[in-house]
Structure formats: structure tokens, C-alpha cells
Amino acid sequence: MPLSVEDRMAILALVTRYNHAVDEGDVDTRSETFTEDGVWDSDTAGVVTSREAIRAHAATRAPQAHTKKHWTNSPVIEGDGDHATITQYLWLVEIVEPRRTLMIGTYHDTVRREPEGWLFAKRELRVHSRIDY
């Protein structure tokens, strides 16, 4: 069954929930955007497997909260039934002076419909350009 408009809105809402959670250092909400067996694979953090491991990883990053914001753009969503992929750009911006662009990248996400709604089964972040920060 093709994705409905409601599915697409829910998947976009999952992405924005993640953005706010990571930027605010909300470890629980960030890890709960993943399935129990979820995988976080990024050029900056390596591969982290399982919601519990992602929660532990998120806790190590929480002290940096409130200094950056994740802006995502140009999402392409494709899928069927209970599975979908999203490809979208990431603009990581420093929100304290000097308000620099820290990183530009692309998320390649796989999402799955669970009883509690759409969740990330896998997030891959490939860095395109990045400054030292």
C-alpha cells in the first residue's frame, strides 16, 4: 500500500521531533525516535546499535545542547506499507556567536511503522563538509 499523506506528515514530524530533542539535549526523546533495534550510523559518531546504546551515546552529547540547531531540508520520502526511506539535507548551525555553519550533510533514513508510530530503524549521516568545532 503506498504511503498516505498522513504517513508522510508523520514521518516529517518524526524528523522534527528528533531535531528538537538533540538540540535540547533531551536524551529520552532522542533515543525514543529509534526502534528498539535502531541503528545510528554517522560519520561523526560511528555506528551505534540499539535504542539503549543510542540513549547512552546521546547522554554523552547532551552537555553540548543549546549551542547548535539541526536544520533539515529537501526531504525525499519513498516507501510502501510499513517501511519507508527518507533522504534529506542537514545544515548544522551554531546558535551562539559567531553563529557559524558547522556542518553540511545528508541523512539517509530508514523508518518503520511500529505500534507507537513511525520510528527510525536506521539513520545514516554522511558529512559533506565540516569545520573543526
Binding site: H66, K69, V93, I95
Partner: protein, 127 residues
Amino acid sequence: MPLSVDDRLEILELMARYNHCADGGDGEGFADTFTADALFEGSMSSARGRAELVQVIASGGGLWKHWLNSPIIEGDGDHATAKVYLVRTGLGEDGEIGLVASGTYHDTLARIDGEWKFTHRKVHPDQ
């Protein structure tokens, strides 16, 4: 009743209209995005009610553009809340075009006569 896709799209369009009116100096259009007794708490000024809302914008416009990202919209029936990222771009004091401000809007909205409007819009500046 949970918010429908139509509700969410209408709220996103309300946010876009707010940007165009604020950036274009259209005070009447800006005030139209709020209910008659709404409260706006900006980073530089506050306004309550239509007359004050019109004035907030009548004194500005043309300097910046507002950009939004990552809207979280929650609600039920005729009431909703939203959080959305904001940056303002423009010519900075250093002569460069860039981000002159950033923050997050915290919004409370209501559907009045079939149209979504802000009842309260508060900017939480990033610093």
C-alpha cells in the same frame, strides 16, 4: 479530534504568511495572522491586540527575511501548540549577509471562524 493533515498545512501556511507580512512591512496582514486579543512577544518588542500588532510591523520591514525549520505541531480540535525554529537573515553590522538572529517560536493557536490564528506567539532567542 486529532489535527488533520489539512489543519497542519493551514498552520504551516499561517507561519509562512506571518513571515511574508513581517518581512514585507504589512502590518495589517501581520495582525490578520493573530486573533483579535492575541499576545505577541518578540525579541525586540511586544504587542497585545490588533492595534498594537499592526504597529509592530508598520515601523519596520524590508530589512530581514524570516526562515523557519523543524515545526512540531500538536493539538486537538480547534486548539494547537507549535514550536518552530527561526533564523533571520540580513545585512549584518559587519557588512556581510548572514544570520542576524536565531531562536525558536513557541506558539499557541486557535481555529476561529474556520481559520487558524495565533493566540500567543513568543520568541525564545538563542542567546
